[in-house]
């Protein structure tokens, strides 16, 4: 695989995965709403 291909793939997949994990983590650790309704 070409170097530019590796850079493009790793930059995209790592950043998207990291942001997704951050968002999910923020949701999971948020304090529960009083009536557990969205």
């Amino acid at each position: 695989m070409s170097l530019s291909g590796w850079i493009m793939m790793l930059t995209s997949t790592v950043s998207v995965t990291a942001i997704t994990i951050y968002c999910v983590w923020r949701v999971l650790t948020a304090p529960e709403a009083p009536d557990d309704q969205s």
Partner: protein
């Protein structure tokens, strides 16, 4: 009249249902093909730019509009939009697009969903074992031909389609918390598990093993190696913007309707980001690691390009992959087949369920129908509107639905809702609403993006699709225009499509060659295409009439109260 009491059971359920709505067949079949056709790794740059400048703002607009208008008891797109500007009555009629697009897309989408259901069944019983590649490709053609059967069941494709519509209807009849949310809680984790399993298989494919000719990395290289010159091509940007619409399910009205059940002062910013980025994870990380690496591993790059040109993502998925899985042998072939088509099925069903919400909201909240009755009416409408796509699939009816309802309507509706939110409702109120109860701090630059960049981009995309020049050669078309030679439309432009330019040119060629059989066949195709358009127009007018009646009902109720 007692108002129905719908609502989400939990925050996770809401996010998974929203992500499930976004994650669809496009993530696995359309994204990799678009990337391959538009510059490989360089496609990801316009794609991510469009996601940040168009996708994220539209998600924020739809989530916020839904929560804001939902607190007044509105749960269907026309009245949810009207609430942002109650003084001007025309918004609700523009909002009809937010019901129509869902009904029409569900009609053909359920058909594709039924293919995945049938292919899970055939993978499980080993139908594809010992078939050659040509036989697997022929199997798909036989399956979509109503007069043939692959199981011995007569009208097999209709049977699977009806089963699929019935399943969707039954889940919808159980309500948001009891049906849609439970399906998303089961379907989304399963989809990710199946996706990770297949992505590992694709990426680790090694030349010389399991009959593969090339490593999976060759496919990844093909997909990710950038061709930076494509960045200056407007067609690549149009394709990237189009993919963002497909993948996020924005511009349909489903996100607005789902969000209308969120209670006031509950977060929308973090929820919208989480659902949106989950979709991007499934698309960029999983979607890119399955179809192309596996297919390139067996057919090579030239073979894949040929297959893409003849049948796109559907061609690779339904006419090639079942054969490739057989090369893995025994249990792994069966598991891979079930995992891949099961993944597509769950991706499809979580999206099609969302499409029922705007229609059901109209009947439940405006006409007082019970949830079950509203759900079955949606099923009946999808069945009636979907049958022509099943029966006349090879006559171009399916493509017509996809183009008008699944493409043009989305661009138009997104443009309308973006202008309504940022310019009519107002950015001051809009920004305040977005941040009300927000559990994440959004960059203030988004205020500017929402007001100027997103509407401008949407306008560019809409106008771009309207006027695609011949051969998509924008530079050449502008030079011709400046030289006073006018603008030559491409057959794929909106203008060219309305006039059936491509088909009429084919008829002329066949006619000049004296091929009367081809002329008859093409004229028959033209007839079915125009018929499909009339059917879609009639459906749109029918929904508009219902919205007008609902409006009259509201006025009458208001008169009784005063």
């Amino acid at each position: 009249m007692t108002k129905p009491n719908e609502g989400w059971g939990s925050r996770i359920g809401l996010i998974l249902a929203m992500a499930g709505n976004a994650v669809g067949l496009g993530n696995f079949l359309r994204f990799p093909i678009q990337a391959v056709e538009n510059g490989g790794g360089a496609f990801i740059i316009p794609y991510l730019v469009c996601f940040l400048l168009m996708g994220v703002p539209l998600l924020l607009i739809e989530w916020t509009t839904g929560r804001f208008s939902g607190q007044f008891g509105d749960h269907t797109t026309p009245f949810l939009m009207q609430r942002l500007d109650p003084k001007r009555a025309f918004w609700k009629y523009l909002g009809v697009f937010g019901i129509f697009a869902n009904v029409a897309v569900a009609a053909y989408y359920c058909y594709v969903e039924s293919w995945t259901m049938a292919y899970v069944y055939h993978s499980a019983i080993g139908t594809f074992a010992n078939m050659s590649q040509a036989e697997v490709a022929g199997f798909f053609t036989a399956y979509t031909d109503t007069h043939q059967t692959t199981t011995g069941i007569p009208y097999e494709n209709i049977v699977f389609f009806v089963l699929c519509v019935l399943l969707n209807t039954w889940i919808l009849s159980k309500g948001l918390a009891g049906g849609v949310e439970i399906t998303a809680k089961i379907g989304m984790p399963l989809l990710i598990i199946f996706g990770v399993f297949l992505a590992i298989q694709g990426v680790t494919l090694t030349a010389g093993e399991k009959g593969a000719q090339f490593d999976g990395l060759v496919g990844l290289n093909f997909l990710w190696t950038p061709q930076f010159d494509s960045l200056t091509n407007p067609s690549v940007w149009l394709a990237a913007a189009g993919q963002i619409f497909f993948t996020l399910s924005v511009g349909m009205g489903t996100v607005i309707c789902f969000a209308s059940y969120i209670k006031r002062r509950r977060d929308v910013a973090l929820n919208a980001m989480t659902a949106g980025w989950l979709n991007e994870f499934v698309e960029i990380v999983l979607g890119a690691s399955i179809l192309i690496p596996i297919c390139v591993g067996y057919f090579g790059i030239d073979g894949v390009v040929e297959l893409v040109e003849s049948g796109g993502g559907f061609g690779l998925a339904f006419q090639a992959l079942p054969y490739l899985f057989q090369q893995w042998g025994g249990v792994l072939a069966v598991v891979a087949g079930i995992a891949f088509f099961g993944l597509l099925f769950f991706a499809g069903v979580t999206s099609s369920l969302a499409m029922g919400t705007p229609w059901m909201g109209l009947l439940q909240y405006e006409f007082g129908w019970r949830r079950e009755r509203a759900a079955w009416s949606f099923g009946a409408l999808v069945l009636l509107l979907g049958l022509p796509t099943v029966l006349f699939y090879d006559k171009g009816v399916f493509g017509e639905y996809d183009y008008w309802a699944g493409t043009v309507c989305l661009f138009f509706f997104a443009m309308v809702e973006s202008i309504l939110f940022a310019w009519v409702f107002g950015m001051d109120r809009g920004w305040q609403e977005i941040n009300d109860g927000a559990e994440i701090r959004l960059p203030t630059s988004y205020r500017f993006i929402l007001k100027y960049i997103t509407p401008a981009l949407l306008l560019f995309v809409f106008i771009g699709n309207l006027f695609i020049p011949h051969g998509a050669d924008w530079a050449g078309a502008f030079s011709q225009l400046l030289a006073g030679n006018g603008w030559q439309f491409d057959a794929s432009s909106l203008v060219g499509t309305v006039g059936n330019t491509a088909l009429k040119a084919q008829i002329e060629v066949a006619s000049a060659a004296g091929d009367s059989a081809a002329v008859t066949q093409l004229e028959e195709r033209l007839f079915y295409i125009n018929g499909a358009r009339l059917l879609l127009l009639a459906t749109f007018l029918f929904i508009t009439a219902l919205v007008y009646l609902a409006y009259r009902k509201r006025l009458a109720a208001l008169g009784e109260r005063t």
